[in-house]
Structure formats: structure tokens, C-alpha cells
């Protein structure tokens, strides 16, 4: 073959490769977090590398929702219909478009209603978060490639740089950097009429200058960042929901920078990707998201693996280890071989409510205790508080209220470590997250080990109770009342529009319910019984002290009191339990609809959602038309309609005083009186 022919063939190959590369790199790829494994001397290897030596573990992890927690926005990640879907909220309309394998949103520009054509922008969807219960979508901030506002920059340097550093990059120690977490977002919220921090500057500057500074800082902060599409795909119900209506709080959560949702780099990336970061490139005047991998991958639990991989590329070293099983000099962590405390700390990185120390939890590596990096939040009693709590409370006065039941039990779902550390099983050092959960030997739904699905999870330690279960539970051995979880881990945490099991493993206590409002397991299952009934059982069976109760607590079913006059969280938890199968088996299913109808127009969207969901699970209501996201007057009408349907369906349920039923009729006057006493104190579960 002549040399010229060789060059010609090579040229064709290079050209083909270039075209292929061009075709396979979409503009969305430019916005994705940079791959941290691609930089020289990276400490990370990625799951792609782990796979070649650990195919079994890779395969079991691959099935998990941890892997798919965050994914590139492709048809593999987005399963629902997209193209042609239109969504509306607060006068803003969003049109979803799809071109081949690429997804787009035609939506209003920031701070506009998007009515005029120039107020609309077409943004690519870059990545998704969530694949189990809900899915959110991330888009690049629309002004990604626009230069900073020069006049705004001049004014910023003149009026703001003294505190925030030149270019907003902070003072020498990084203090007050606008790009640091906490100060790097939602600048539009600041410099408004209610901003007391900047009062002097606001007085000094005219509104035009303030607007220029805001525009400058917006551009300074947002380039390279991903913002959340304000609607969420609710997988369980196969429907779109405005993101602000998926939280437990009164009314919808509004986004600080409408119509854009949360900012990926400020709060979300840490637990929804592996070792994610945001890095500001001062020279380029733009920032970059970074991550080892999207989703929660191997190194999040096993630690950075590059050294491990480099050392074990040598086959002799690998076989030495295979044959001697000597892992003492390993560079990587096997959580199963750690102490319960250290193994649980790995999960606590994300499954805990933490307050960062210095360094923050980003610096945590598997095998470390969590305490050097973060305080594990606990509810403290009366002040004086430790300094770190005091500071946290100054930032968020509702911190305790929105995170814990008054007895100190965490109320946010998914922050299970905070519950675990309050449990005797953990405190005694025997139990860890891995006692029941496994990333490699469990079904993805809840990552529960097969042997931990039933009572064996507890009986492996508490063997003495297994020999005569009924003697301990006072319920038939095969009944739901003899399932350890149901009494010791009731569904009293809230998240993703549902109640989930508490991970503070304790015993039912009427005293706690009466004094703090945290529902106990007895009354969450026996919905038709009062606190007084439960107290009598617990005294007779377990010798618990007699609890002093009000007449109401002694006579009326606790579920009704919590649902009608409890706070937002209590109402949501009870509304959810009114379709919980064990509770319906224990309490019947004919009367709950009457009371659920009373909360279909609740001010808390989460309560309305739980009530609607439970209602449709009850006999005669499976076709009941109700949407918790509807306007309040429609929900009011639904409440009336549900009540009327119940009256028609069950005209004579006899007399059951605890359910306020006398001769088949509910004492609606008493219900209204209870409703008037509803605890309207604000609660916002910060999921």
C-alpha cells in the first residue's frame, strides 16, 4: 500500500471520528457537572472502574434508586410523556418539548409571566433527580453565556466589595463570598424593601443602581449553575405537580427566584450526586458544577478509590489479596466491616439533619466518625443552648419545630440517623443502619435485607421474645399487632407526600402523645380508640404509669382529635393512616371518610393530598373526583360533596361514642367545635 493511500485512509478515519464526536456531544453536555475523575491526580475512580473487578456488587448497586437519584436527562431517565405537555401555575405557562432524545422547556424568563414572546426562553433539560417517588428536572440558568453587567459591576465594586470582596468573591478568608453556600443564592430576595441587613446601602442608592447591582450579582452567581424546573413528576401518581405543593407547609412553597426552583449547587448536589461541588473560575467569570458521578455511587460509601484501583491494577497484588484475604492495608472502606457507629456515619452524610462544623460534611470520608465534620441536630430543651444551636436558631427560628416532634423525635423522613441515635439499640452499640438495610443484598424499594423484612430483624437480638410472641405483644402472633415495626417504628416521619417509619426505635407511650402530640403506635392502628383506651392497655400489659388525660382525650378517638384539631403535621400523619391497611383491618373502614371530608380543604396541601389519597382507598370513594392542587373553593366543594356521599353510603353505623357516632349520626356540632380549636401554628417540614 502506498504511503499516500495510508494517509488518505487515516484522514477519512479522523474525519469520521470528528463527525461522530460532534454528533454525540450535545449542548446539554456542556451544562452537566464536570467529571471529577477526569482531572489529573483525581482521588476518584467512578463506578465504571469498580465494575471490572466487582461485577456482582456493581450489578446489585445498579438496580438501586441511589444510582438513579440523579441522571442525565435522556429517555432512559424520563419515562413519561413530555412533548406537547403544557403546565400552568400562577399565570405562567410552561410548554414541554422533545426533539429526538433531547428534552426542552419553553418557559417564562425570570421575574416575568412569560406572556410576551421576548419574555420566554427555551431551556434544555440537563439532568433529572429522583426516580422512585418523584422526579425533578434541572436546567441551566438562562443567562449562562451572557457577560456580567458592567455598570452593575462598577456599582458593586463601589458599594459592596468592602464586605463581599472584589467581584463578590469574598474577603481574604472567603467570608461573605457571594458564591459560598448560603450567600450564593436568591440575591433577588435581598436588596428588597424588607432587607434590614442592607438598609444603609439601600438608602444611599437609587432603585436603578440597586437593580443594576442585582443584575450583576445574578449573572455573577448563576452562570454554570443549574436551576430546578418548578414542576415535579409525581411517579407514584403519574402526574405533574407544582414543586411547591409537594412539601408539608401551609400553602404552596414559593420559589425565591420565580419562576425558577431550587439551585442545584447550593443545597441539592451534596446528597443527590457523588462528591459534588461548585467551583468558581475567576478568570472565566463563571462557575462550574462538578461531581464524581451523578447519583449516589460506589465511592460515596466506600471512599475515594483511585489509589485502591491503581494498586490493584497489578494482578500479583490482586491475587495476593484474594488468596490471603488481607485487607488491612486497603485504601478503601468496606462499611460492613466497620463498627456500627462508623458504618452508620456513612449513611448519616445524607440521611441526617446535620449542622456543618468546619470542615463541613463535604470533607467527610467513609470510615470517619461524623462528629468532626458536623453536629447531629437534636432538639434541646430550654436555653441556654450550645453556641452552634444558638447560631442555627438565629438562622432559622423554626428549626426545632420543623425538624422534631416536641419529644425530640425527628419528624423529617429520610433523616433516619437522627432517630437512630436516640434509640437504645444504637446507643448500646449493637445496631447500625446495616443491621436492616443493604445496598447490595436488598430490594431497591427500601433497601431492606430480606431477613429484616419481618420480626427476625429484632428477634435476632431479642430472642427471648420470639418464643412466645403473644405474651409480649398481646396480639395474635400472625397479626399486624405482632409485627415489631408496627409498634416500635410507627409512621411518624413525613416526606415526599407520605408518612414513613420513624427510626427512633421506642415503645408506644400515651404519656408522650398527650404531652407532645406525637401519635403513638396503638392509636395509629386502632384509629377508633381513644388515648384513654391505649393508656389502659399499656398500663395493664406493660405496667406503664396511668396517664392523666382530659375528658376529651379519654373519650374521643385520638385519630379524630389529631386529624381535626392537631397541627399540620399531626393532621397529615393521621390522614395518611386512614388508608393504612393494618389500621383499616383493626378499625373498620366505614367511618373514616366522614372525618377525611373535613380536611379536604385543609390549608396544608400535604394534608389535602393525604386525605384525598386515603379517601379514594375507602369503600364507595374509589371514583371520588378530587385534586388537592385545585383552588380553595373547589376543595371546599369537594369537602361538602365527600361528606354528603358518606352520609348517603353509611346512614346507620349505630352508636360508637369514641367516633362521635350516636344512633348512626355524627355529632357535627362537636366536630365543628373541635375544628375551631385546630392548632394553626405554622409548621414547615424541611425535606
Amino acid at each position: 500500500m502506498k504511503l499516500g493511500t495510508v494517509f488518505m485512509v487515516l484522514g477519512v478515519l479522523v474525519a469520521f471520528g470528528s463527525v461522530l464526536g460532534f454528533v454525540t456531544t450535545t449542548s446539554e453536555d456542556l451544562y452537566l457537572p464536570r467529571d471529577k475523575t477526569a482531572v489529573p491526580q483525581s482521588a476518584f475512580a467512578s463506578s465504571r472502574t469498580c465494575r471490572s473487578c466487582h461485577p456482582d456488587q456493581y450489578a446489585s448497586w445498579y438496580r438501586t434508586y441511589h444510582r438513579t437519584m440523579t441522571q442525565v436527562a435522556t429517555p432512559d431517565a424520563i419515562h413519561q410523556a413530555w412533548d406537547g405537555v403544557s403546565l400552568s401555575r400562577e399565570g405562567r405557562t410552561y410548554h414541554l418539548r422533545r426533539e429526538g432524545n433531547r428534552f426542552f422547556v419553553d418557559m417564562p424568563r425570570m421575574a416575568t409571566k412569560g406572556e410576551a414572546l421576548e419574555d420566554r426562553v427555551l431551556l434544555p433539560v440537563v439532568q433529572t433527580t429522583g426516580s422512585h417517588h418523584m422526579q425533578s428536572y434541572w436546567m441551566p440558568a438562562p443567562w449562562l453565556d451572557e457577560p456580567p453587567e458592567t455598570q452593575g459591576r462598577d456599582r458593586f465594586e463601589k458599594h459592596c466589595a468592602a464586605c463581599h470582596g472584589p467581584g463578590g468573591l469574598g474577603l481574604e478568608d472567603g467570608e461573605r463570598s457571594l458564591l459560598a453556600a448560603g450567600l450564593g443564592t436568591n440575591v433577588v430576595q435581598f436588596l428588597g424593601p424588607d432587607d434590614e441587613t442592607h438598609l444603609e446601602i439601600l438608602e444611599e442608592l437609587g432603585s436603578e443602581d440597586v437593580a443594576r447591582i442585582v443584575r450583576y450579582v445574578e449573572r455573577l452567581q448563576f452562570p454554570g449553575r443549574l436551576t430546578m424546573f418548578p414542576f415535579t413528576w409525581f411517579i407514584r401518581e403519574q402526574r405533574w405537580v407544582f414543586d411547591g405543593l409537594t412539601y408539608l407547609q401551609p400553602g404552596p412553597r414559593e420559589h425565591s427566584v420565580e419562576p425558577y426552583g431550587n439551585n442545584w449547587d447550593d443545597k441539592c448536589d451534596g446528597c443527590h450526586a457523588t462528591y459534588a461541588d461548585y467551583r468558581w473560575d475567576g478568570d472565566a467569570q463563571r462557575g462550574f458544577s462538578e461531581a464524581v458521578e451523578l447519583g449516589i455511587a460506589c465511592e460515596e460509601c466506600h471512599g475515594p478509590a483511585a489509589r485502591h484501583v491503581a494498586r490493584l491494577r497489578n494482578p500479583l497484588e490482586r491475587y495476593r489479596r484474594h488468596l490471603t484475604a488481607n485487607a488491612s492495608e486497603d485504601d478503601i472502606v468496606n462499611p460492613a466491616k466497620l463498627s456500627p457507629k462508623l458504618a452508620s456515619a456513612i449513611c448519616a452524610q445524607c440521611h441526617a439533619e446535620l449542622i456543618d462544623k468546619d470542615p463541613g460534611v463535604e470533607a467527610f470520608r467513609p470510615g470517619d466518625p461524623i462528629e468532626p465534620y458536623a453536629h447531629v441536630l437534636r432538639r434541646y430543651g430550654e436555653p441556654p443552648y450550645p453556641d452552634w444551636i444558638q447560631e442555627a436558631l438565629e438562622d432559622n427560628q423554626g428549626l426545632f419545630r420543623d425538624s422534631f416532634w416536641p419529644d425530640g423525635t425527628i419528624l423529617i423522613a429520610g433523616r433516619d440517623y437522627n432517630g437512630l441515635v436516640e434509640s437504645a439499640c444504637f446507643i448500646r452499640g449493637k445496631m447500625s443502619c446495616l443491621s436492616c438495610h443493604s445496598m447490595h443484598a436488598a430490594e431497591p424499594d427500601d433497601q431492606l435485607r430480606p431477613e429484616a423484612r419481618g420480626n427476625d430483624a429484632c428477634l435476632s437480638c431479642h430472642q427471648e421474645l420470639g418464643t412466645d410472641l403473644t405474651a409480649h405483644t398481646h396480639h395474635a402472633p400472625e397479626s399486624s399487632g405482632s409485627q415489631c415495626y408496627n409498634c416500635h417504628m410507627p409512621h411518624t416521619t413525613w416526606g415526599l407526600l407520605g408518612a414513613m417509619r420513624a427510626h427512633r426505635i421506642d415503645s408506644p407511650s400515651v404519656a408522650v402523645s398527650a404531652s407532645t402530640g406525637r401519635p403513638n403506635a396503638c392509636n395509629l392502628c386502632h384509629l377508633d380508640t381513644s388515648l384513654g383506651d391505649a393508656s389502659d392497655w399499656l398500663t395493664a400489659w406493660y405496667g406503664q404509669p396511668v396517664v392523666e388525660l382530659t375528658e376529651e382525650e379519654r373519650d374521643i378517638a385520638a385519630s379524630i382529635l389529631w386529624l381535626i384539631k392537631g397541627n399540620g403535621l399531626e393532621r397529615a400523619v393521621l390522614a395518611w393512616h386512614m388508608s393504612w391497611k393494618p389500621a383499616l383491618e383493626a378499625s373498620g373502614d366505614t367511618w373514616q371518610a366522614a372525618y377525611l371530608s373535613q380536611v379536604l380543604n385543609d390549608p396544608y396541601p400535604a394534608v389535602r393530598h393525604a386525605a384525598g389519597r386515603s379517601l379514594r382507598a375507602l369503600p364507595g370513594f374509589d371514583d371520588f373526583a378530587y385534586d388537592y392542587t385545585d383552588a380553595s373553593h373547589i376543595c371546599d366543594a369537594a369537602a361538602v360533596s365527600a361528606k354528603q356521599r358518606w352520609l348517603a353510603l353509611f346512614p346507620s353505623l349505630g352508636t360508637r361514642p369514641s367516633l362521635l357516632l350516636v344512633d348512626g349520626a355524627i355529632d357535627w356540632n362537636l366536630v365543628a367545635a373541635l375544628q375551631a380549636l385546630r392548632d394553626n401554628s405554622r409548621i414547615e417540614v424541611d425535606e
Partner: protein
């Protein structure tokens, strides 16, 4: 055929070839059967290495059987005695044993993505096969008087 100076070797390789084909085609059938029965110890996601090793044992064993037959035919065509061809014969027999058996044993015990120690037989077998092939290539060179 009796007239050939290599007749004993020819018979040996013909026999080995057909026996290897019988053995390793049967192994292929067994592996297909494991697929049919969805045998966990062969098909589970963590058994990737075993599946690869046993598949390689089947293919190498079958191909070595064919190589034995080709070698027998080659010996007949060369039709002249020689120590070098004897070495090639021994090397081919060794390769025929070491390659498929090494792969098979490598799949019996595995360490995640690494095969068992039996796989160490494979490179020895591979070298033997290369030696045998090289000798045959050399032996196929026409005698000087025919060049």
C-alpha cells in the same frame, strides 16, 4: 497413509482432534443447557467471570480440536520426518490440554472480576500453541532445491 513417515503422529492428532471436538462441543451443549435452565451459578450477574471463562474453555477446546485435525492433514502433506515437527506435535498436545482446561478451571473459583488460579495454565498453553504454529510455518518452507 501407512507410507507416511509421520503416520503415528497423524493418527494421534486425528484422534485427539475428534476427541477434543466431541468433548468441547459437548461442553458447549452443557453451557447451552445451563442457559436453558437459567442456572444461577452460571448466569447470575455476579457470575460474569465464570461465564466468560467457561465460554472461552468451550471455544478454545473446540478450535484446538480443529487445529489438531488441520495439523494431521498438514503432517501428511509435508510427508517428511523431522524432530521439529515432533516438537510441534508435543506443543500442540500441551496447548490442547492447557488452554481449555486453564479457562475451565479459571471459572470454577472466581474472585469478583478475576478468574481462579487455574487461568495461569492459559498463557503456558498459548505459548505452546504459538510455538507449534511457528514450527509448522517453518516446516512448510519449500526445500532449497524447490526454491
Amino acid at each position: 497413509m501407512n507410507a507416511s513417515p509421520n503416520s503415528r503422529r497423524i493418527w494421534l492428532h486425528l484422534k485427539l482432534g475428534w476427541v477434543w471436538l466431541l468433548l468441547f462441543a459437548t461442553l458447549g451443549l452443557v453451557l447451552e443447557g445451563l442457559h436453558g435452565l437459567k442456572a444461577g451459578f452460571y448466569l447470575d450477574v455476579g457470575m460474569e467471570t465464570r461465564r466468560l471463562m467457561w465460554t472461552l474453555a468451550h471455544t478454545h477446546g473446540t478450535l484446538i480440536g480443529i487445529v489438531h485435525l488441520a495439523f494431521a492433514v498438514t503432517l501428511e502433506r509435508i510427508d517428511r520426518p523431522g524432530d521439529a515437527l515432533g516438537v510441534a506435535s508435543h506443543a500442540l498436545v500441551a496447548a490442547g490440554v492447557l488452554l481449555p482446561i486453564g479457562f475451565f478451571l479459571g471459572g470454577v473459583v472466581t474472585y469478583g472480576g478475576d478468574p481462579g488460579l487455574g487461568v495461569l495454565l492459559v498463557p503456558i498453553g498459548a505459548v505452546s500453541l504459538i510455538v507449534a504454529a511457528a514450527i509448522v510455518v517453518y516446516a512448510l518452507k519449500p526445500p532449497r532445491d524447490q526454491q
